[in-house]
């Protein structure tokens, strides 16, 4: 019987951020800044999500090698990851923002 443990708020925020545009590959550092997580919190989450096959990772192909930088790691949700992220309720602040946007759109219409 599979275990269905609820993700931590930090993990949920990472899943939601990736689910906002699931087809796009994202950089780790930028993702951390978007969800407000430092490297010490973000990377353990990314590692666990990847090991549970909820997240896939690849190296960028057109790297900044010409600028003297090594290729960076990119991340996006797998099918299972999208399914799980889709089941998560939006964060309260996010929900309020969406609601506000909808109300503003109605008023301006």
């Amino acid at each position: 019987m599979p275990r269905t443990r609820r993700p931590s708020p930090q993990t949920a925020s990472v899943l939601r951020a990736l689910f906002a545009d699931p087809a796009t590959w994202r950089y780790g550092y930028e993702l951390g800044r978007e969800v407000g997580l430092k490297a010490g919190s973000l990377y353990p989450i990314l590692i666990r999500l990847t090991e549970r096959e909820l997240l896939e990772a690849r190296w960028e192909e057109h790297s900044g090698e010409s600028a003297g930088r090594p290729p960076r790691h990119l991340y996006r949700l797998t099918g299972a990851g999208r399914e799980l992220a889709g089941q998560l309720a939006p964060a309260p602040a996010e929900a309020r923002t969406r609601e506000g946007r909808a109300q503003r759109a109605l008023r301006s219409a």
Partner: protein
């Protein structure tokens, strides 16, 4: 402006990257690549230092391998802590701390909680808390506050084990993760109370010749039929209603476990409350009153101590039956079966050599049997948590 690549944060992260296990080497390289994009020194330091935590994250394999050691170390720390606290401030406070910790865990998602959202589970859990509260009050009242004083031995450790065990069992039974339905939970609990009370009434009271049922027709021997019928009835009822034979077996095990633990609790409580009625043991002339009382209590508690040991072993089996099959949890719980014989072995280590050898052999055989059960039920395969999230 290009990022400085060989500054101190970069060198630090190089060292951190070497800490990653082989299966996670890519993650170290990924972090080094991210660092190369950062330019501000403070930002680079924060990032490099933050990566240390990721490097120290234990792998799944390491977590599984270390779990038995972690459990053993935690148990040892708790036991030493309880002993130290008991010496300093009495035994009641550590016991209350453990029970409060369990109650807190019962509200958090995990092995002990939260409670399943149905009436039976809530009633069983509330009854468990009420029962534990009752015995705590009885214990403190009967001991005249002695347990609140330092270096008092008395019955504190025995009750601490029993009440902790009981609280953990009630929480595990009624948590959302249990495989056991409400029908079996209700039937098993009621049958356990019936069987426990009947057993307590009909068994010789306080190590004496008579029982509480002595005045009943046929000296209450017909109560043994109730003792047998209650778990059997719970098994048949649950099996028929749920159409699952394994749930019937769980209901019967639950009934016997509850019954046995109830008898032990009632017995110890009775000894505490009715000390004056204990039979005087044959002691050497000149023995002090304190020695007599201690001997009376030890003699009277023999039967209930045996019940407690039996209940402890049944509880381990019940936990394995109730929870989703997971190798590491199952192993830890089945390993608990070896604890009572091993404890007995330590208790008799200074007596006859053969007795000691046999007792330790029993502990070894119990462990071997537990491992066989583990292999036979197929739980050594790692059950991957497909739906799990970090």
């Amino acid at each position: 402006m290009s990022a400085p690549s060989r500054d101190l944060p970069a060198r630090y992260l190089d060292a951190v990257a070497r800490l990653f296990p082989a299966t996670r080497r890519d993650w170290g390289a990924a972090m080094q690549a991210e660092l190369a994009t950062l330019t501000r020194p403070s930002e680079r330091w924060r990032f490099a230092l933050g990566c240390t935590r990721a490097a120290l994250l234990p792998s799944r394999e390491a977590r599984v391998a270390w779990l038995p050691f972690a459990v053993a170390i935690t148990a040892a720390v708790v036991a030493i802590g309880e002993y130290a606290l008991a010496t300093a401030i009495g035994q009641t406070v550590p016991l209350l701390l453990v029970l409060a910790l369990l109650a807190w865990r019962g509200r958090r998602p995990g092995y002990f909680g939260p409670v399943r959202p149905d009436r039976t589970a809530r009633v069983v859990r509330a009854s468990g808390y009420a029962l534990i509260g009752f015995y705590l009050v009885a214990l403190i009242a009967a001991d005249g506050g002695g347990l609140l004083q330092p270096t008092q031995a008395n019955w504190g450790p025995v009750f601490a084990i029993m009440l902790t065990l009981l609280a953990a069992l009630f929480l595990a039974l009624t948590a959302r993760g249990t495989r056991f339905g409400s029908i079996g939970l209700g039937a098993g609990s009621i049958a356990g109370v019936v069987a426990g009370v009947a057993t307590f009434a009909v068994m010789p009271f306080e190590h004496g010749e008579t029982s509480l049922a002595h005045g009943l027709p046929w000296n209450g021997q017909w109560l043994w039929l109730i003792v047998l019928a209650a778990p059997t009835g719970a098994a048949l009822f649950t099996g028929k209603r749920s159409r699952r034979a394994d749930h019937g077996a769980m209901a019967a095990t639950l009934a016997v476990t509850f019954g046995v633990l109830l008898v032990a609790l009632l017995g110890f409580a009775a000894i505490l409350l009715f000390r004056g009625s204990l039979e005087a043991p044959p002691l050497m002339p000149g023995a002090s009153a304190a020695d007599k009382l201690a001997e009376q209590e030890i003699g009277a508690s023999d039967g209930y101590g045996g019940m407690l040991t039996f209940g402890f072993m049944l509880a381990a089996i019940l936990w394995v039956m109730l929870r989703p099959v997971r190798a590491r949890t199952t192993f830890v719980l089945l390993a608990l079966l070896a604890v009572p014989p091993a404890a007995l072995g330590f208790a008799v280590r200074e007596s006859a050599l053969w007795g000691t050898v046999l007792t330790f052999a029993a502990a070894g055989l119990t462990l071997a049997a537990a491992s066989s059960i583990l292999a036979a039920t197929g739980v050594t395969r790692r059950s991957d948590a497909a739906g799990a999230t970090p």
